[in-house]
C-alpha cells in the first residue's frame, strides 16, 4: 500500500467508527468503491476492531 492509501485507510476507518454497526459494511464499500485494496483493508480492520472490543467484566481489576 502506498502512503496515500495508508492515510486513506486511516481516515476511512476513523469515519467508519461513526457509522451504525448495521450500515458500516455498505458505508465502507461505497466510500472506497474506487480502490479495492483500501476497501478490503478498512473492512478487515473494522472486523478486528469489533472483535477487540471489551469483554464485560474482563478489565479493571
Amino acid at each position: 500500500m502506498t502512503p496515500d492509501q495508508q492515510r486513506r485507510v486511516r481516515d476511512l476507518f476513523e469515519a467508519a467508527l461513526d457509522q451504525p454497526d448495521a450500515d458500516v459494511r455498505s458505508w465502507i464499500e461505497r466510500a472506497a468503491a474506487d480502490d479495492a485494496v483500501v476497501r478490503d483493508e478498512v473492512l478487515s480492520l473494522v472486523r478486528h476492531h469489533s472483535s477487540a472490543r471489551p469483554v464485560s467484566g474482563a478489565g479493571n481489576r
Binding site: 476513523e14 478486528h48 472483535s51 478489565g59 479493571n60 481489576r61
Partner: protein, 198 residues
C-alpha cells in the same frame, strides 16, 4: 542559542532509560509473583526524580515520549529474560474465557507484541507512539492525547485503529507467523489489557 542549553532528544534517552530501569528493578525485587508492574507510577516517579536533579528538558511531553519507549524496552527485555516464548504457546493451556488467568501471565506475549509494534511503526509511527504510551506506560486517553498534542477524540480513534491493526497482526497466523492453533488466548489477553480500559 537555546540549542546549547538543551540536549537533543537522543542524549536524554539513556538518562531516562537508566532511571526507569533502576526503579523497575527495585520494584521487581519487592514484587509478588504475578503482580503487574505499575508502569505509570514508575514513569511519574522517574520524572520527579530526574526533574529534581535538574534534567535538561523543558516540558513533560518530551519526557513521557522517551519514558514510554523506555518502558516498552524494559518490559520486553524483562519478558525475554524470563524466558517468555517468542511465540506464545504457553498460553494455549489457558481457557479463553478465563481472562484473569491469561492476564496472570502477560509476559508471554510481550515479545510478539513488540515485534508487531515495530512493523506498525514502519506504516505509521504515530500509532506506535500511542501504543507505547497507552499500553506500555499505562497512560490514560487524556494523558496520551496531551503527550502527543492531539485532542482526546482524535486520540481515541487512532488508538482504536492501532488496536485493530495489532489485534489482526497477533491473531491472524498468516500475518504474524503465529501458531495457527493459539489465536484465542492472545486475543483474549489483548482484549483484557488494551481494550477493556476506560
Amino acid at each position: 542559542m537555546t540549542d546549547d542549553l538543551h540536549a537533543p532528544a537522543a542524549d536524554l534517552t539513556p538518562l531516562v532509560y537508566n532511571e526507569l530501569r533502576r526503579l523497575a528493578s527495585a520494584y521487581m525485587r519487592r514484587e509478588r509473583p504475578g503482580q503487574t508492574l505499575q508502569a505509570t507510577a514508575l514513569v511519574h516517579e522517574a520524572f520527579i526524580r530526574l526533574a529534581a536533579s535538574g534534567a535538561p528538558w523543558t516540558d513533560k511531553r518530551h519526557f513521557v515520549g522517551i519514558a514510554a519507549r523506555s518502558m516498552r524496552q524494559i518490559l520486553v527485555e524483562r519478558a525475554r529474560a524470563r524466558g517468555a516464548q517468542k511465540r506464545w504457546a504457553g498460553l494455549n493451556r489457558v481457557s479463553m474465557s478465563d481472562s484473569l488467568a491469561v492476564a496472570a501471565d502477560p509476559e508471554s506475549m510481550l515479545p510478539a507484541l513488540d515485534e508487531a509494534l515495530t512493523r506498525l511503526e514502519k506504516i505509521d509511527a504515530e500509532q506506535a507512539r500511542i501504543v507505547e504510551l497507552r499500553f506500555f506506560a499505562g497512560f490514560s486517553i487524556e494523558e496520551t492525547a496531551d503527550a502527543l498534542g492531539m485532542s482526546p477524540a482524535t486520540l481515541k480513534r487512532r488508538w482504536a485503529l492501532a488496536r485493530a491493526w495489532l489485534h489482526r497482526e497477533l491473531t491472524e497466523p498468516t500475518r504474524a507467523d503465529a501458531d495457527a492453533d493459539s489465536p484465542w488466548p492472545v486475543s483474549q489477553y489483548f482484549v483484557w489489557r488494551c481494550c477493556a480500559r476506560p
